[in-house]
Symmetry: C2
Subunit: 146 residues, 2 copies
């Protein structure tokens, strides 16, 4: 079964050296969303966090020897699904970014760990999770059907 997707926009940043992960990034830039999707940005506001799914378009093809990889900052191999390596079976990246401003089809963001010109696949609302205590009682509404 094959699934075909299309870019909905592009990451723009002048940064050349990017941190390993959005959690440790203060790199600014913007998301240039393709004009046909502009109405979908209507409720994205400055100050909030968004989840951005993107395509690791410059990653070499995945091969079975990459099922375990030693991250640059670790000292042993880890299963690919416990890492954020860009070389994975489906090269989808995920970053949580801070929205600085929304200007038409442009979303100014902070926290980039994607390279300039990276294709964007989706944007989702970021939702805090409750503490991992097994209890989901008292949850505030988590949003539309996921």
């Amino acid at each position: 079964m094959q699934i075909t997707m299309r870019s909905i926009g592009t990451v723009r940043t002048t940064a050349v050296k990017l941190p390993r992960h959005c959690r440790i990034s203060n790199v600014k830039g913007y998301l240039e969303i393709d004009p046909p999707y502009i109405k979908g940005l209507a409720d994205i506001k400055a100050g909030e966090r968004i989840v951005v799914l993107f395509w690791f378009d410059r990653s070499p093809a995945f091969t079975p020897d990459l099922l375990r990889q030693t991250p640059p900052h670790r000292h042993r191999p880890f299963g690919i699904f416990s890492t954020c390596s860009p070389r994975r079976p489906n090269p989808i990246g995920m970053s949580v970014l801070e929205v600085l401003a929304v200007r038409g089809n442009i979303i100014d963001v902070n926290g980039l760990d994607m390279m300039d010109n990276t294709p964007i696949l989706d944007i989702k609302p970021y939702m805090e999770l409750p503490a991992a205590d097994g209890s989901k009682a008292g949850q505030t509404d988590a949003g539309p059907v996921s």
Copy 2:
């Protein structure tokens, strides 16, 4: 530009009624990962949370009138990128699940909001984010290159 992806496994659950979002779900089931990827599960442990990306394989095709949608529990239309609607330009779903056990190519999970037989695209480690105060000082290491 077209991007082609493949399923790496399948969601299995006997639940028929599923909650709107993993945040409010206590539905149990399992992820049946295709055997070629089993080595990639080596570091997934019971008790941790994982991010699961999946394909909304039963969602009707996206059309421009869906750029703004009124979620079932809301009272006005929202831009698609501020919702978790399964009808989106690229029908990728994202859930954070609790790992109950790992048995070979099977990951027992809690918190499902995906339907039985949903194709899985990727699994990533779940990482808590710091409070949205703009400061990322004192971050613990956030993992491999993302």
